[in-house]
Amino acid sequence: MPNLRLALPFSLTTFSVSLVAVLAVTYIGLIAVVMSYAALTVEFSQSVKNDEAAVAVLEGKYLNGVAHLQALDYRAAGYTAPLAKIFVPATSMTALR
C-alpha cells in the first residue's frame, strides 16, 4: 500500500498557529476599527449638532433683529419720509454693449 501522507514543504502545526494568530490579530483589528468608527461617528455627529445649535442661536439673533427692524418707527428715530421717489426705467443689457 502506497504511503498517502501528504508531503508539505512546511509544518502543518506552524501553519495553523500562524493562521490562528493572523485571524486573532485581524479580529482585534476589526473590533478596534468598529469601536473607532462608532466613537468618531458619535463625536462628529455631536460636533455637527453643536455647530447647528450655535448657528441657531445666531439665527435667533438675526430674526430678532428683523422683527426689531420691522417694528422700528423710523420717524421716532429722527428720520423722515422721502419727499419724492424717482424711478429710472431699467436699461436692457443689450443696450449697454
Binding site: L30, V34, Y37, A38, T41, V42, S45, Q46, K49, N50, E52, A53, V55, A56, V57, E59, G60, Y62, L63, N64, V66, A67, L69, Q70, A71, K85, F87, P89, A90, T91
Partner: protein, 578 residues
Amino acid sequence: MRTQFRFRIRLVLAFVVFVALVIFVRLYFVQVVHGDDYAQKADRQFASGGSGLFDRGAIYFTNKDGTLVSAATLATGFLVAINPQTLADPETAYTLIAEIASTTISHEAFLAAAAKKNLVYVEVAHRVSDAKGQELAARAIPGVQVLRERWRYYPGASLASQAIGIVSYGSGDALIGQTGLEAVYDGTLARSGDSLYKNFFAELFSNVGNLLVNAKDACEGDIVTTIEPQVQARLEHDLAKLSEQYSSKESGGIIMDPATGAILAFASYPSYDGNNRQNVGPALLGSPLVEDVHEFGSIMKPMTMTSGLDAGVITPDTTYNDTGCITVSTRKICNWDRKARGVIPMKEVILQSLNVGASWVATELGQDKFRSYFTTLFGTKTDIDLPSEGRALLGNLSTTQQVNFDNMSFGQGIAVTPVQMVRALGTLANGGVMVQPHLVSAIRLDSGIVRELDWSKTVPVFGATAAHETTQMMTEMVDEKLAGGKAKIPSMSVAAKTGTAQLTDGHGGYYQDRFFHSFVGFFPSYNPRFIILLYTNDPQHVTYASDTLGATFLDLVHFLIDYYQVPPDRGFATTTPA
C-alpha cells in the same frame, strides 16, 4: 532538544499565568476597589446614550434671495439629574444646581425627589446652556449627573409660530409634530435616531441592502417653506399694532404670490412664542387662517361681479337703477349709507361698494350660475399643507330663496376660511385661474436630493377678460376712493376692495354695531406679484374696514414695493429717447 522545548513551554505558560494574574488584579481594583468612583465618572459623562437624544429635521424660512434661515431647529445643552441613592447632601447639591440652572425644580420638590431612595434617576433641570452645564459637571457633585440634551428650538420665537406649529408628546412617549407644518410633515422631520449606533459588521451580514442604500435617507429630511422672514415680521407687526389700536378680538393676514400660490407671509394675532408655551391656551395653537370661517362682507363683490361678467349677463357698461334699498322675499337689503344713486354703471358697484348693485348682478346671473361659480370657488378645501382645514359654510347655496343669493353676493350668509378667500380672490389676479396655496416649496432629503413639491394643480374659474375688467374696477377704487384718492401710487397700479360685514349674534340675526372688517388687494394690478388679504374681527369704536385696514394695507404695499424693488408699471414713459 526535548529539555529545551519543555523549558520554552513552561516559560510561555508562566507568562500567560502572569498576564492573567495582572488582568485579574487590575479587574479587582477597577471593579471592586474603585468601582463606585468609575460608576460616578460614567454617570457624569457628557454624551449620554445617543438613542436617547432627541433628533428632528429642520424647517426653513426662505429669504427673498433664496438663502435659508431656520424656522425650527435643534438646540443642545444639558439636563441635570440626581441619583437619590448616592446623593449624600441634597441641600448643598440643590444650592449648587440652583446657582447654575435657573430652570431647576423648586426646593421642596428637589428634597422630595432626593428622599426617594428607591429611585436611581430623577431629572431636576432641563435646557441648561452648554457653558453652565459644563461648569456644573466640572464640580463633580456626588449623585448629580449632567447629561447631554437636545430640544426643539424656534429661532424666530413667535415668528410664523402658528404656521410652523409645535412638537410635543402625543399618546406615546415620543415627541411628534402636533400642529402646523410640524404635524403635516412629521413623517419627513421625524428621526428614528438609531443610525449612529448600528454595528457596521452586523449590518454587513444581516442587512447589506440597507447599508448600501439607506431607505430612511430617501424619506427623512428638512423642509423649506415659502415664508419670507422680513415680510412675515412686517405683517405680524402691522397686525399686532392694528389689533391693539382697535382692541380687536383677532386679526389675520396672508400675503401670497397669486401666480403660484406660494405664501410669503401667514400671520394672525394673537399668537404665541414657540419656545415658551407655558401659558398658551389650546385655541391659540391652531391656525385661525385655515380653521376658522368668517363672513367676509364686501370683498365678495368682486367675485359676484366677475361671475356676472364671465357669464355674459353684464358688461362693464351695463347700468342699473340703484334705489338705495330693495325688498326681496320680505327682507330689506340696503346700501351701507341707504342712499340711492340712480342709474349708474357696474364699476360703481365696486367703487362705492353697493349692496343693491351686487344683489342686482346676482339676480341677473341667476341661481344656477351663481351656485356653479361659488361652488367652484369655495366648494372644496384648498388642501393647503396645514392640518385641520375648515370647510366653508355654503348652506345658502343649496336653497332657492333669492334673498339668500342676494346676501351672498355681498359676502353675508356665506362663511369661508381666510385661505379659501385669498385663493378665490387670487383668480382675479391670475387671469381667472385658481391656484393652490401652499407653505412648503421643497424637501431637502438626507440623501442630498432636493425634492421640489408639485403645487401646479390649477382650476380655471373665470375667463381672463372678466378678471381683467373687475381688476380695472378695483384699481379705480384705489386711485379714486381709497383714503379719498390719496392712496393712489402714481408709479404703481394697485387693485383693492374693502369689506365690512356685520357679525352674527348667534340667534340667526346680526349685530348692528359689531363688525368683521376685511381688505384684499393685489399689485401691480395687471401683472400681480403679490395679493394681500387682511381682516380684523370685532374692532371697537370703528365701523368701516377702510378706516381700520386701509392704512395697514398701504403700509404693506409700500413695504413690498421697496423690499422687492418692484418696477413701476405706470406713470412714466416706457421708451427711452434715442
